[in-house]
């Protein structure tokens, strides 16, 4: 039952990164590459029409995590206190940036909210990547200092950074050189994803230029991926064990590399949707590979004293999980139905859609 919920929540998390990911990416592209007002408007619109529905996936993911793995929820949310609250603030700035820009027709007003949308999207992409990096690296569970625990073994509190900025430190912080690399991978991946979304959903004048930007970013992504694989082993020496034990898990990294490889042919793709599918595969493969390498651990411990958090030692009761599976499946089917209806009705390019609220 724990495994079922672990899979459901991972899928919901991946969908969140795929859907809201294109909004973050759209924001990054908007910040750096949109120059004319017409492009800025239509690019903001391609995110603005959809952000709230996409963000609900984060709420759903949080809620399910709370229900199924309450100990993990409690430990991680309090342990990453500051970065999480900062993410909440960034989410606010992202949302109001999108909602407010079209409300008044002054240049200055628009540029303020464009920056609000762009900068917070960039930082959100970075922070979510850093978060993933932290989960891969693990944290100082129990708050061990000089061999003694400060907290119960499943609690921790991470500073934003440790003076060494090293993932190998005894008390690593949220930001270190490893998590920064993962954060950059996230920024580059989502920028590519966002660019694909813009090409798919708009007739902006930079669509052609975006294809060569995607190509360049993809070279960067391949380089960062290569570096991260080298250091991954240092940070988390057990990360290959699962793939050796259960070879079918190799499917996930294959999905990642298929997407990454395919994106090099971005200029030759016949349909815009194909580019978007490829960047979707990169995100999907990246998240699932990272999670699969840890399974059944969901938060490793950087010390030898506290046990890592796993899906088994953090889960709610068997009864609760099985009741929830019943309504969870019904709920997810309904969500799928809404998504299809919404997609059918808001299909096509957004340029002509009325965005007047």
């Amino acid at each position: 039952m724990e495994v079922f919920w672990y899979i459901i929540i991972s899928v919901v998390l991946a969908i969140f990164f795929i859907l809201d990911g294109y909004n973050f990416g759209t924001g990054i592209i908007h910040l750096f590459f949109a120059k004319t007002e017409k492009d800025k408007e239509v690019i903001a619109k391609s995110a603005g029409l959809f952000w709230d529905f996409n963000e609900v996936w984060l709420v759903a993911c949080g809620g399910m995590l709370f229900m199924a793995f309450p100990t993990f929820y409690a430990s991680v949310f309090s342990g990453f206190y500051l970065p999480l609250i900062i993410v909440l603030w960034l989410i606010v700035f992202r949302a109001i940036g999108l909602e407010l820009r079209s409300q008044f027709n002054f240049e200055m007003w628009k540029s303020i909210w464009d920056k609000s949308f762009g900068v917070s999207s960039l930082l959100l992409a970075l922070f979510f990547g850093i978060a993933l990096g932290n989960v891969v690296r693990g944290v100082n569970l129990g708050g061990i200092e000089n061999g003694t625990a400060t907290f119960e073994p499943h609690y921790f509190f991470l500073p934003l950074w440790d003076s060494s900025f090293s993932p190998l430190s005894e008390t690593p912080g949220v930001i270190d050189w490893f998590t920064i690399i993962i954060g950059l991978i996230s920024v580059v991946t989502l920028a590519i994803h966002g660019a694909n979304w813009i090409i798919l959903k708009t007739n902006s004048s930079i669509n052609n230029k975006l294809k060569s930007i995607i190509f360049k970013l993809n070279i960067l992504l391949a380089a960062l991926t290569f570096i991260s694989l080298l250091v991954w082993q240092i940070v988390n020496p057990n990360s290959l064990d699962n793939f050796i034990d259960k070879p079918y898990l190799i499917l996930f990294p294959v999905i990642y590399f298929f997407g990454l490889f395919g994106l090099f042919f971005i200029k030759k793709l016949k349909k815009d949707i194909h580019g978007f599918i490829l960047s979707t595969l990169v995100i999907l493969g990246g998240i699932t590979s990272s999670l699969a390498s840890l399974f059944p651990v969901i938060l490793p411990s950087t010390n030898n004293i506290s046990e890592p958090l796993t899906i088994y030692n953090t889960a709610a009761s068997e009864y609760g999980l099985s009741v929830a599976l019943g309504w969870g499946i019904i709920g997810l089917i309904l969500v799928a139905v809404y998504s299809i209806i919404q997609k059918k009705l808001l299909n096509g390019k957004v340029d002509k859609m009325d965005y007047g609220h």
Partner: protein, 443 residues
């Protein structure tokens, strides 16, 4: 430790108070929107359709604000109340996760369709999308109230040796005797806020002599919905809730009614008075004998326990705040009934649109239902103290063990600053929508 609990509570109280400005409007307003859309389907008069679309614009601004201020609420269970989440997540996580899955997806997808899809789907389907938005927002209210009902009156659980609450009976969460009265009371209160907002915009248009057709329509709808909902709010739902508090949380009941000493031969109802916590009595009291016993038990002489009957640690830890919240809520509720009854009386005499003092009153009344809603929630939450889960888990045992008070103070200040900005922007946006008015604009 004391500091830590104080800042955690303050941050939660501040963020939830600000958050609840928005859902209390969207829940009630969605019903009024559905009503207008239904009138349009029946009569085919364009005015009703424009009214529905106008209020959906206001709904959308509130919904956005509700979403961005709502996510911090969910996160704070984990960030600031980690111990509480760890111990009770197996139970309240059920209803909170259901809220995400069953209501937010419904609301957010059909809100977008309502706003952008009218031409694509025809009027009947457009009505249906409006109805689904309403359904989603009420489902959200229901599931939040189910969560809160469990904290007020825990049911269907088992406590393990390590202190964890484990779900034993899922359906008990929904047959909780606390839930239905609290839900109905809350939804009616939300309808009161929305009716007053609709009436207030109507009064504004009439006083400004602008959009008169809509001004009259809004005022009429607002005062009729307002009178019906404020009456139902007092009786039966308010009464039903008070009886529940008396039954399940007698200490909270004594504190909110301001009964310091038990009176054997029936308790008086306090109308006005200030709690003096040093001498344990009410100053400047105006009270009517025996009424409280009658209202609570339909028996003039029934004894009601006063605060002297409870141990210090069982009583709510901020009695004056609880007492004032309750009396402000009840006092405002009574004033609402009076003003709305007056307005409906003049509406029937066909004079309402010309009586300026009444129109001004209705226009400026709009903050007060918000105050009443929020003080109503303060009654529920302060009354539950000093517990998070009534009688079982103390508030002081629920906070995050690893987050220092300095960190919480920092984030609290950040939330205050950010929400000030949000509040300003919200007013600008709603003001702009009201200024533009419900008449369709030519592009």
């Amino acid at each position: 430790m004391e500091d830590m609990i104080f800042y955690d509570r303050l941050q939660f109280a501040f963020t939830i108070t600000f958050h609840y400005i928005f859902p209390q409007l969207t829940m009630g307003l969605s019903l009024i929107i559905v009503y207008y859309k239904w009138r349009f389907l029946k009569t085919n008069i364009e005015k009703y359709n424009n009214a529905a679309k106008f209020f959906m614009k206001i709904f959308a601004v509130n919904f956005t604000m509700g979403v961005v201020t709502g996510i911090p609420m969910e996160f704070q269970f984990g960030t600031n109340w980690a111990k509480f989440s760890e111990l009770t997540g197996g139970i309240i996580g059920q209803t909170l996760a259901m809220e995400g899955l069953f209501s937010f997806f419904l609301e957010s997808s059909f809100l977008a369709l309502f706003i952008f899809g009218e031409k694509l789907m025809g009027q009947k389907l457009h009505f249906l999308t409006g109805f689904l938005v309403f359904l989603g927002s009420w489902a959200s209210g229901y599931l939040i109230l189910a969560t809160n009902a469990w904290m007020q009156h825990p049911v269907g659980y088992e406590i393990l040796d390590n202190g964890k609450f484990v779900l034993e009976n899922f359906s008990a969460l929904f047959s909780n005797p606390w839930l239905l009265p609290a839900f109905l009371h809350n939804q009616l209160a939300s309808l009161v806020t929305s009716s007053f907002v609709v009436a207030s915009i109507g009064a504004f248009y009439i006083l400004r002599n602008k959009n008169l057709e809509f001004g009259k329509l809004f005022l009429k709808t607002g005062v009729i919905f307002g009178l019906v909902s404020s009456l139902l709010l007092a009786f039966p739902t308010g009464d039903w809730n008070a009886k529940n508090v008396a039954k399940f949380q007698p200490a909270a009941f004594a504190a909110m009614e301001g009964i310091f000493e038990t009176e054997e031969a029936g308790a008086e109802i306090v109308l006005i008075g200030q709690p003096d916590m040093v001498q344990k009595k009410l100053d400047n009291k105006i009270a009517v004998p025996n009424i409280l016993s009658f209202l609570t038990y339909q028996d003039w002489n029934k004894q009601i326990l006063g605060m002297d009957q409870f141990k210090e640690e069982e009583l709510p830890d901020n009695i004056p705040a609880l007492y004032y919240s309750y009396h402000i809520m009840v006092g405002l509720g009574t004033i609402f009934i009076a003003i709305m009854a007056l307005a409906v009386f003049f509406l029937r005499k066909k004079k309402l649109y010309t009586i300026k003092p009444l129109l001004w009153t209705i226009m400026f009344l709009v903050p007060f239902p918000y105050i009443a809603n929020i003080t109503g929630w303060y009654v529920a939450e302060l009354g539950r103290q000093p517990y998070l889960v009534y009688g079982l888990l103390k508030t002081s045992e629920g906070v995050s063990p690893t987050v220092s008070s300095g960190n919480t103070l920092f984030t609290l200040l950040g939330f205050v600053a950010l929400y000030m900005l949000l509040g300003l922007l919200f007013l600008v946006l709603v003001g702009k929508t009201i200024h533009q008015g419900p008449t369709p604009q030519k592009h």
